[in-house]
Amino acid sequence: MMKREKMRIVSTRVIAKETIEMVLENKWISTHASPGQFLHIQIGSHTLRRPISIADCNHVTNEITILFKITGDGTRHLGEYQVGNYLDVLGPIGNGFPTNITAQSTVLLVGGGIGVPPLYFLGKFLKENGINIKAVLGFQGEDHVFYEPNFRELGETIIVTNDGSYGEKGYVTDVLENNLAFDYYYSCGPTPMLRSLISVLKGKKGYISLEERMGCGVGACLACILPAKNERGYKKICSDGPVFNVEEVTI
């Protein structure tokens, strides 16, 4: 269940090229957040809120971490907010990653760019519940890499950069051949990456988190629709997702 809440900015810092990590404090949202959910954030007087996924959640300090990339006016403006400012947030929103999987299973996390953050919250949660974690994280180049040590704490982590300036060179799918020993995969990243991932991992059980330009964020306006193999022929990314079983949607 989501609520409209005020979240206090506890810290904000540039963590990689054009990428900001912000820690927000709010008890209700931190108590109710689960991996894969997102916040719909009001930024100044911008007409539309911005959906940003939850990268971490601390139930003790009531803190939520978000990471976002500066891609336009809204995210640039959000990046200018200071510690102590409050954000008007709808959240937590959406159906996250399924986490009720058998202990001792192995999960492969595959993240691309700004799709990496929700996988950290997920990986941390799963590890605490006895799941083995492997991660393959893709970034444009060395300047864009973030959270590598965080993921290494969860399990074996491979970093891939498109230009080869750090870690392996190429795409996340290039390193999968030698890393197929897992029970489930969970992924978030650019649509072309997800498409090729689904094709390479055909037959494996997987869940993907999708993004789209959103309007209301609560399931009413039908802006963020994707074709689906269900009776009505579509799913809403904001309220049916943003996480989907790879079998149920067409991207």
Partner: protein, 304 residues
Amino acid sequence: MTNLAIELPGLSLKNPVMPASGCFGFGREYATFYNLNKLGAVIMKAATMQERLGNPTPRVAETASGMLNAIGLQNPGVTKIIETEVPFLSQFNTNIIANIAGSSLEEYVEVARAFNETDQVHALELNISCPNVKEGGLQFGTDPLMAARVTEAVKKSTNLPVYVKLSPNVSDIVQIAKAVEAAGADGLSMINTLTGMQIHLPSRRPLIANKTGGLSGPAIKPIAIRMIYEVSSQVNIPIIGMGGIQRAEDVLEFLLAGASAVAIGTANFQNPFICADIIDDLPRVLKQYGFNSVREAIGKGIVA
């Protein structure tokens, strides 16, 4: 005590505020935020005869003080709306206005007939102004003769009062308003969105997959006010005003321009409680500017 109630054809409104069509779905999502009994009415998302899956994504883009949308009239079809959505909204003590759309005059008539057979819908909003579908919608709304023809045909097929939703994408909105009034419209609803476009610099392509979209939000409010001001003195039917309303002061501005009630669209996305918040704040604003009722304020901004 400020009187917010207003009587319009088919609608006994406890207050003049209703969510606009397409921005509130069928109320289910917003009913989780507040009790819809609060609302003067709910205008449902557009209904067509058959189910429509709408346009490709992206369907929305932010603009300066507004947004573009091109949803494409996605809806489950009138039969399903009557079976599942109307009964849901009927639980609430509010008026239900059904927005009807179509690709042909026959489709408008069929959808109007379908709603006429329920006893839970209080009025129809005739959508001849959707800019986001290839056929229908706007082609009826930009030609006075076509607008009159579809209004007349729909009026003949229903006992419900018909509010015709006008497009601002015309050079003379008064002419269209007069034409639909002469054709039997019980009221007007104005304005729909303005057709716009935004180009995404990295991809050098229109940001909205449909290329064009309907511009809404505070950016269009002065246009809505001007058009309502022009039309209200030229017709004798009431106007439900809309276009960029964000606060109770804006509602008063629409009333002064000649609207008898208002609909709130885009602002629901920013603040899901906006309709309820504005209803709560409206008495204060009316009082501040010297009015004891909504009725008193209607058309009071019009200079002879």
